[in-house]
């Protein structure tokens, strides 16, 4: 009984879901990493069909990027995810921050096919929350019965937004801290190695050995 449109929508959805299941979502990608790097990197796990950056225009330009990579089969995608999750996967030299991989989700695709059907099903079936009514906006003005309720929601939503931002800030601070710490450590390692090198070079070690003999 379903209208024709529905069938194609579900088909579209099915195809889309299938694609999603084959895709890997990469997070915390360094800004200097390019798509080519990503493709070669994930190419180790299988054939890469498609890769694209998820550009959140609101995030700072030099912040971590995210990408969606579509593999040829679901198995390859799963393998990639597993490998990357278990071992720290370094994408580029000097970038110690490993890349995070997760299975892709539909909500990551802003241009995904709409789940909303254009016409109501005949039987007015409202149980299926996904294929619901066509979403529209409407205005709730002062004096409407829902006004209070809606206002409260607004407040809550704003609060949530603030919370998220705050969390992000704090986490960023932590990242900076860690990064600094590691730099210092790396520097000290370098010094150590340089010292050892110098010793070897200057044949001090040899001399010491001779002396002790």
């Amino acid at each position: 009984m379903a209208a024709e449109g529905v069938l194609t929508i579900s088909e579209g959805m099915a195809k889309f879901q299938e694609r999603v299941s084959r895709s890997v979502f990469l997070d915390d990608v360094a800004p200097s990493v390019t798509l080519a790097t990503i493709i070669t990197a994930l190419g180790q796990f299988g054939k890469v069909l498609n890769a694209r950056m998820l550009d959140c225009p609101l995030s700072p330009k030099l912040g971590p990027k995210r990408a969606l990579v579509e593999m040829a089969t679901q198995r390859e995608a799963e393998r990639a995810i597993k490998e990357i999750q278990e071992h720290p996967f370094i994408m580029m030299k000097g970038i110690l921050r490993p890349v995070i991989a997760r299975a892709a989700e539909a909500s990551l695709y802003p241009e995904r096919p709409s789940k909303i059907r254009k016409t109501l099903p005949d039987n007015g079936d409202r149980k299926n929350a996904d294929i619901g009514r066509k979403p529209t906006f409407c205005w709730v003005n002062r004096g409407d019965p829902d006004w209070d309720f809606v206002c409260k929601q607004k407040q809550l939503a704003k609060k949530h937004v603030m919370e998220c931002q705050y969390l992000m800030q704090e986490l960023k601070k932590e990242e900076e801290k860690l990064s600094k710490e590691q730099e210092e450590r790396a520097a000290s390692f370098l010094d150590k190695f340089a010292l050892v090198d110098a010793c070897l070079r200057d044949k001090i070690v040899k001399q010491l050995v001779e002396v002790s003999d």
Binding site: L62, K134, K158, F193
Partner: protein, 606 residues
């Protein structure tokens, strides 16, 4: 800095605006604060691979009166700057070079190809000495030649030949740029009599231009050199106008006058684009060939924009600032360069040039502030501009820096070309046209969003859902409006009243999108240059060793550090999950609670 050097691709010759410059050429460089251009010698030329800008290292020549203010022996003499102090050389963009200059070296060194007497007479300037800025004295230029090489300092055959081909005089500022200034007519400066007589096409006086539009078109003979000459001759007075006008004025004038200029300029082959020269040679009707006009307009935009560019780029040369500042300023200006480009892209429909022109220019006259909104209302100009987009080679197209000045004027265009999403966002954010919406149902997709918003607000240009993880309780979206006003009014509406998703009654919150700070670092990037020192690895091995993506092995330092990051990442993830869970719960509570309340109140009423 290592990075800078690697980024540069040095060249031994570079062509700019149809003129080929070779190393060690002596060129004129425009500076808005000076009536005459500076003279410099190109020491190096390169192209920066990352940005595509072409720059040159120029060593300045000092004027006779700067070095020897009391002597009056040879006013044509220049002195090559030399030394460690500031102001000896500058790194400039190739765009600020306006042309070669007729300067020859008259040093009697055997390595120098002595110019003939006529060469010397023909030349605008000569030099045989250098001036040390630290020690503050002159000395023969052959000392510098020993340092930099004879080719760098002395005349070569090619240079002497090239000098003979350089046209125009240097003394009066007759560079190409000056022509653009005449196009940029500032408000009501009367034209010089000299100009009027020599240059039949160009008139600063707006009324004249309107009436003589037709005359101009017919009169010009389209011969490139003559046109050049005329344009050059006629621009002395324009010089002052240009110098004094601010950037906004230039830009605002620019587009409003472009229409006039484009007809007037039909014969002036832009002086920048060699290709255009050919077109200009055929006689024109009053309704000239659209394509040609557009090309002209295009190159005009190029020039004007470059001029704007130069103003800021070279503003500090006299103070001897170092090149970094110049570059940063140039960076600012290049953002400005985008604005005419936007005009181009906004263009769409074909307008009647002649009529539209008159109306527009009259309107522009009436305009007291420098906005060109009225002018652009017709939009015809932009169509023309748009068509020539493909022939442009302006750098700013590639830049991601946002335009500095908001272009409210492009608001009412319904004729915008479809820009890719990122670009339109980059443009929209600093213009205040972008809103960030929160608390969207995560099931809604971009297409839905667009429909919904279009019905709710007018003037929506684009809308997109931001990618979110499934665990986020609510989605976010970005909406781009066609104008700042529309965006602001939408924001107000959303604030004052509630825009809700029907039947779920989720209110949408909106906030402005501000320009994000670009300075955020990416923590976790360890500078490895120091590692190159010493160690046994050669640079090849080094590159191979770490540049491939790999899973870190547990026996390396890298592993340890990477694990620490891992830990932090896990913490991040957990935190986010917890927060989302909490938020979801709160949202559900209030929704259910609210719903039940609403139900109850409905029932009560019934």
């Amino acid at each position: 800095m290592a990075n800078e050097e690697e980024d540069r691709a040095y060249m031994s010759s570079c062509s700019n605006e149809g003129v080929e410059y070779r190393l060690y050429d002596i060129v004129k460089i425009f500076d808005k604060e000076f009536a005459v251009p500076h003279i410099g010698k190109i020491l190096k030329m390169w192209e920066e691979r990352s940005s595509g800008t072409r720059k040159a290292l120029v060593c300045w020549f000092l004027w006779h009166k700067e070095v020897k203010p009391h002597d009056a022996d040879n006013p044509k003499e220049l002195f090559l700057a030399f030394g460690e102090g500031k102001g000896v050389t500058n790194e400039l963009k190739m765009d600020s070079i306006v042309g070669k200059c007729k300067v020859v070296c008259i040093s009697s060194d055997p390595r120098n190809k002595e110019p003939s007497v006529s060469d010397v007479e023909n030349a605008d300037f000569v030099y045989s000495h250098a001036y040390d800025v630290d020690l503050k004295h002159t000395f023969p230029v052959k000392v510098v030649a020993d340092k930099l090489g004879p080719d760098a300092i002395f005349n070569t055959e090619e240079w002497l030949l090239a000098v003979t081909k350089i046209e125009g005089k240097t003394n009066e500022f007759k560079s190409k740029k000056s022509i653009k200034s005449s196009l940029l007519e500032s408000k009501k400066r009367p034209r010089d009599a000299e100009v009027a007589s020599k240059l039949q096409k160009k008139k600063i006086d707006k009324q004249d231009e309107l009436t003589t539009q037709k005359k101009k078109v017919k009169v010009s003979d389209g011969k490139a050199p003559i046109a050049k000459e005329n344009a050059r001759e006629g621009s002395v007075s324009k010089q002052e106008e240009m110098v004094q006008s601010k950037r906004q004025l230039l830009k605002s004038e620019e587009l409003s006058r472009l229409r006039k200029a484009q007809i007037a300029d039909v014969k002036v082959p832009a002086l920048t684009d060699g290709a255009v020269l050919d077109k200009a040679s055929s006689p024109r009707e009053l309704a000239p060939d659209m394509h040609d006009i557009m090309e002209q307009t295009d190159s005009l935009i190029n020039d004007i924009v470059r001029q704007v560019n130069d103003e800021t780029v070279l503003g500090e040369k006299s103070k001897g600032e170092d090149s970094k500042e110049l570059e940063s300023r140039a960076g600012n200006v290049s953002k400005v360069e985008r604005t005419p480009e936007e005009g181009r892209e906004a263009a769409d429909h074909e307008g009647d040039i002649a009529d539209g022109d008159k109306v527009e220019s009259k309107k522009a006259l009436a305009e007291s502030d420098f906005s060109w909104q009225e002018d652009l209302n017709k939009g015809s100009m932009f169509k023309l501009l748009k068509k020539t987009k493909s022939s442009l080679t302006m750098e700013p197209e590639k830049r991601t820096a946002s335009a500095v000045e908001p272009l409210k004027q492009f608001e009412k265009r319904k004729i915008f070309r479809e820009l890719p999403w990122e670009e339109s966002l980059q443009r929209g954010i600093p213009q205040g046209r972008v809103l960030h919406l929160h608390n969207i149902d995560p099931l809604v997709t971009s297409a839905d969003m667009r429909e919904m918003l279009k019905s709710a607000f007018q003037g929506l240009s684009d809308a997109r859902i931001l990618p979110q993880e499934a665990s986020c309780p609510s989605g976010q979206a970005i909406a781009i409006f066609e104008s700042r006003l529309l965006a602001e009014s939408a924001l107000e509406a959303i604030e004052k009243n509630c825009l809700v998703m029907a039947d779920k009654k989720w209110p949408v919150i909106a906030s402005r999108v501000k320009e994000s700070l670009n300075q955020a670092r990416f923590p976790g990037h360890l500078a490895l240059e120091k590692l190159k020192l010493g160690r046994n690895l050669t640079s090849d091995e080094f590159k191979k060793a770490v540049s491939t993506s790999h899973c870190s092995q547990p026996n390396t330092i890298e592993f340890e550090m990477a694990m620490e990051w891992r830990q932090l990442q896990e913490i991040t993830r957990t935190c986010r999950m917890e927060l989302f869970k909490k938020q979801k719960k709160e949202l559900n509570d209030i929704r259910n609670h609210g719903n039940s309340k609403a139900q109850r109140s409905k029932e009560e009423r019934v």
